[in-house]
Symmetry: D2
Subunit: 416 residues, 4 copies
């Protein structure tokens, strides 16, 4: 179990961190203020601000671009679109890079390494046809367009993927798409041009062969973004989470990914690394929250002492440090296992961090909020938004309960 980073990963981590600190953090507050201003004045909060585009260009110029590209699949794309070093990183090497990206909510987009585009690009990389790659993957890698992933449905418990009721029916050389999806992250952004849609094709097939994944252009007739959803009051501009209806949408059968009935297979592959990325970034979120907590605890005074010295605050700071450290190691462990190749152990490890890390982060962020007093709930600090993000992660990409069930069943399996 060697968690040593390669020199390249160490260098990338340091450079990404410096970029976040010097380029991104200084604009965080003004970006939030501008979105709020647009929202309050009836303006458009969804079009990305020019500053995001500028930062993207600067990051790309420094080779800090598409760093998520996986070692085994990056191929020529790493050289063409990820300009630093010319090959993909292992999961372990990407871990600290993603962690430091997680320190700012804006950073993943700036480095073209944000969900759901990373997951969608990976799917296209691994399963896309050359035509699909040319049409959709390359502009995504260029950040010329954005994408969304349409899986969860409002009308069924989507934690059970076989519940999915929206349909993607092959009709000759077309696929007909019908149904309603929500939490389609990314559809708020007007640059979102392509939707990765997962639908029921053959209800009579084997449980894991019923669904098909298909590429649906955002502007195909019959596609309608019904509304943008807030999560605990946040709209997560400029990407946003949408509820999308599909009414007799027809796309060429060539838009099917991998083949009819193979959506489940893709989804499994798509969600593995995606979950690890989420957890990596969440470590960074927790780390930054603890930093803010410490700074506040040292700088504010009550009852004649810095609040760091009051009651159980010091102990809670210690618990936060312990929790972050152990969670980070667990994430590195999962990344390392994935690098060894998929296995039952790796499967368990991914579910382990999916349970552990968001819960850990929620505790740490909550402590930071509490130490900031009422201010911690406002937009003056990134803490409230951080909490909401971590809370969402207890539901997104499989709720805690499903992941606990995976871990528990694998554990019991050792004793059968």
């Amino acid at each position: 179990m060697d968690f040593s980073l390669s020199p390249r990963a160490t260098d990338l981590r340091d450079r990404v961190r410096a970029f976040v600190d010097t380029e991104i953090k200084p604009v965080e507050a003004s970006v939030q203020a501008e979105i709020l201003r647009r929202r309050e004045s009836g303006g458009d909060p969804w079009t990305p601000l020019p500053v995001i585009k500028e930062l993207q260009a600067k990051a790309r110029a420094q080779g800090l671009w598409n760093l998520f590209l996986p070692k085994e699949h990056a191929g020529r794309y790493a050289a063409d679109f990820g300009t630093d070093g010319g090959e993909g990183l292992s999961n372990l090497d990407y871990a600290p890079v993603a962690e430091v990206m997680g320190r700012s909510a804006l950073a993943p987009l700036v480095f073209n390494s944000n969900a759901p585009d990373t997951g969608n690009m990976e799917v296209l990389l691994r399963y896309g046809s050359p035509d699909q790659q040319r049409e959709w993957l390359e502009p995504l890698l260029d950040a010329r367009i954005r994408s969304a992933f349409c899986m969860t449905e409002p009308d069924v418990a989507s934690s059970d993927a076989t519940n999915m009721a929206a349909t993607a029916v092959v009709d000759g050389d077309e696929v007909v798409v019908n149904g309603r999806k929500w939490f389609s992250t990314g559809v708020g952004n007007p640059e979102c041009k392509i939707l990765v849609f997962m639908g029921l094709s053959d209800p009579d097939a084997d449980r894991h062969a019923r669904h098909t994944m298909v590429l649906v252009p955002r502007d195909a007739p019959g596609v309608k973004v019904e509304r943008m959803l807030s999560t605990m009051g946040y709209f997560d501009e400029p990407l946003g989470h949408g509820e999308v209806s599909f009414t007799d949408v027809r796309v060429p059968a060539a838009n099917i990914l991998l083949g009819p009935g193979r959506a489940y297979e893709i989804a499994q592959g798509r969600l593995g690394p995606g979950r690890v990325h989420h957890c990596m970034r969440t470590i960074g979120l927790a780390e930054r929250s603890l930093e803010l907590a410490c700074q506040r605890a040292l700088s504010r005074t009550a009852f004649g002492k810095p609040i760091a010295r009051l009651g159980g605050n010091l102990e809670r700071i210690a618990d936060a440090r312990i929790a972050i450290n152990r969670s980070r190691l667990l994430v590195m462990h999962a990344a390392w296992l994935l690098d060894q190749g998929m296995s039952t152990q790796a499967l368990s490890a991914v579910s382990e961090i999916k349970v552990e890390v968001p819960a850990m982060a929620l505790d740490v962020i909550d402590l930071a909020v509490q130490l900031h007093g009422g201010g911690g709930m406002t937009t003056d600090f990134p803490l409230a938004a951080a909490w909401v993000g971590a809370r969402s992660l207890r539901l997104a990409d499989g709720p805690d309960e499903v992941h606990r069930s995976v871990v528990g069943r694998i554990e019991l399996g050792k004793h059968r």
Copy 2:
């Protein structure tokens, strides 16, 4: 320890509950949607919707009005402005009434029993001069105007009230007010006409005699609402939480409450019942959240079973029931103790519930969110807003840490 409700309280509770169910709940979603619509279109989200006014009139016509008026101070106001029964309720009798009001975020305003107006009205009732009562209390009891309470400051740890740095200096027959306050709840509403301001008058006086409470008209020159604050993304329209600057604001000395240097005394009296009311309402919030959780758990199916039957969900529902029941009893205990007269035991009891109840509610609501999946984070259910409300309560009116300290010191005091 007799927790029996009077027949009048039982009747009021049943009628308030019925009103909430039949009149308020049906409009919750459309009110939220309208505020959102106004906000997105650059409209004014702060002016209360006409439906609120209509509901207030209807509630008042049924005698469900100003029910918070305390037994010992209600006096003629209960008869003139609280039209049912003509006298104030004991704390114990008010507990279940407030609980059922807590079932809807809109309800307290509809029944003219919302914070901070209740607290401000109590202050005026107990400490106001006849002129102050005529000018401000009566229109508040009539809901013709609204009020705010300006205590917490952005620049100091306000958990220690003696930290407060904004000033209220007596200058002849005037008081000069300077400084900056935030979390001034209510100032968003254009009907807010009066601010109860707490400021430093005499830094050399005894620790608890330095501050003065003074009535500052909202439109006095030098008063400026700098911005409205969101808490975890929520603006809590139509009341809202504002940051307010006071620059050389001059008001007549007759606007002083009780007398110079007596703010601390008033604040203690003001916050006691207010904290109990918050906790009472929070019980109702938790109870409704558990109802939603159970309904969802029974109606959604995954892996071939209602989700109520999956994993630890049933156990968590049991824990929620246990937690609500024990918290409610603790709130009734505190209310009963307050009714016996202020005492060290009552002081502890108020701090006990202030720690216990929001934490309990957060757990219950979190469970409900989780059982609703992603939908639980959206405005489709009142859960996300409920969570934010309960979370704020761990900071408002004294953070957990301060209340734990009160309880702990009283406990140790028994052994000295």
Copy 3:
């Protein structure tokens, strides 16, 4: 919901508490030392020490005897054997009396109000024939003999009572008893003369009509105490928990309680009040532990301060106070509901406290242990034994999981 105590209950509570403080606590340490001495020297730790007999006589002389006798069934026994006041107490009135008994591990036996004798006496009171009552109940009420309850079995998950495999088969005018039981509390004591045995009679009957309860004299041929069990190192002398084998034990059919196949019915009735008693006593245990914790925290000094002032200790003391108070109210609530007559709500309430109270007590005692340092783990303080007692209660009379399931199903039932 009137939790007021009757004057008689208040008086009994005060007198029992004074008795515990002045008569029992002073001998606790020497009793433990003597049992340990006997054990280490190969002596008999099971025969109750003379001091217990003396204390029993003294308690009885003061009318503090058999106070557990239930209001509705005490009948002439309260007058004849419970010499104070001549009638049984309501559950609510017994609650504070049992609580103060719970302050010392020795106390319940001293007041002839210890499990499992109380439960067995209640069974005989409610379901015993006049002959059974004369032969077994009266000497138990006199504390001339002791009893055991033989239900749990080592070879099956006894949380599911229908799993029970030991047999009690009616054969003419005899019952033949076979099988193995454990956690038969009380069989260590040589004064234990009667075993209440629950066994399978008719495997083909309806699920809840298969088992029979029968009185088996301790000295019946074929009854053998195989060993005494320790729970976390404690043998709980002089009662003890035994593993008992029954080999073709024959007793008269007249020894059957209520009738063949009616064991389940009795068990339900037996365990309800027993569980409430356990919880009542556990409140007292927690209360005393918190007292010890506070005294220690004030009297020990480290790093220049009393440890009460170090880190989070004060906050934890506050949490313990909150937890005890809320749990006590929940126990009173359950007792009050039982006094209103059995109902679904009362059934839930008993399970609620069975989950809540031991968990609460474990937290409080653990805090007290921690504040006592290593000493808290030794016999120098009653804390370690208290912890073990509370831990056992998470398993005895139904494990947490079963009680949570009861509460959860009743909760969901409201929404069907």
Copy 4:
């Protein structure tokens, strides 16, 4: 951060684990039974059973002996007394070896790697004079004698080491030792021949230069074991924890370790690796407990299902797996940091695991107990004793509170 084990460590771990499984586990129950039998019959429970000696010989013959010897200090001792491989292991390499030893309470003694002898041997190795090493270290490495460590005192809060009041006063070429110590682990064993005593020499010296460590032969006049202490009912035979009085005990000044006033320095060095060893073994304890839990959960049936499938049991098993995995990584991290040389980061890491690991183990063991029902509390399974061992560890070698304070202060120190 390379957590890869050396081939030798991998081999040792596998062989130790096999030895534990095939040689030690089969005798666990009979050893416990024999100690209990001796205890109940007034026999001597303290003299190690012959089987322990036989197992020690067998382990030594296989080179599984003194494996705790640290890489940097083992020197010739590793070759002479630790017969496998001839050199000490790094902390990281020892971690998995110690973990598998932790699977049985008997194992550490069998491999001559038990506390406190390991700590005492390390002290002699690092700080002992050649004479001290010849007289005490070599027989300890041979397991011809045992030792105890006398630091904690009954009359002061020993979490603050500067509180220690027992004295070790240099008087010419002798040291005079007076005072009372407790939790002197190992003094029960009649083979215990040497006590490492820490006492106050110069109350006026600098805070960390007041105490001296001195070797006191067990049979020196004035040394008296007053009593053996139980921890939650366990005496931990054959080592045991004693309360020891020292009355004008005189030993040669040559028995001083390192020099007068240098005890603190030694204690810090002694406790670092000792704490890591405790944590390593505790991982093994938790791992074995989880195995037992899974086996029980699969083999017992209630309500028609294996209990693994009931309620939240599967989720709790998952949580246990997650908790063990993350704790193990944190322990490896601390071991790896120690191998890099002492640093603030390593100091924090040791305190982090000292807080994290026992708490984790308590949760896992508690789950295992609960799944075993009443049996889990008895000596039929190693769980109850395991729980007590882990609980003690929250106090031994510094209570949680002290370690949290270390971690917290280091964390805040980053922001000053």
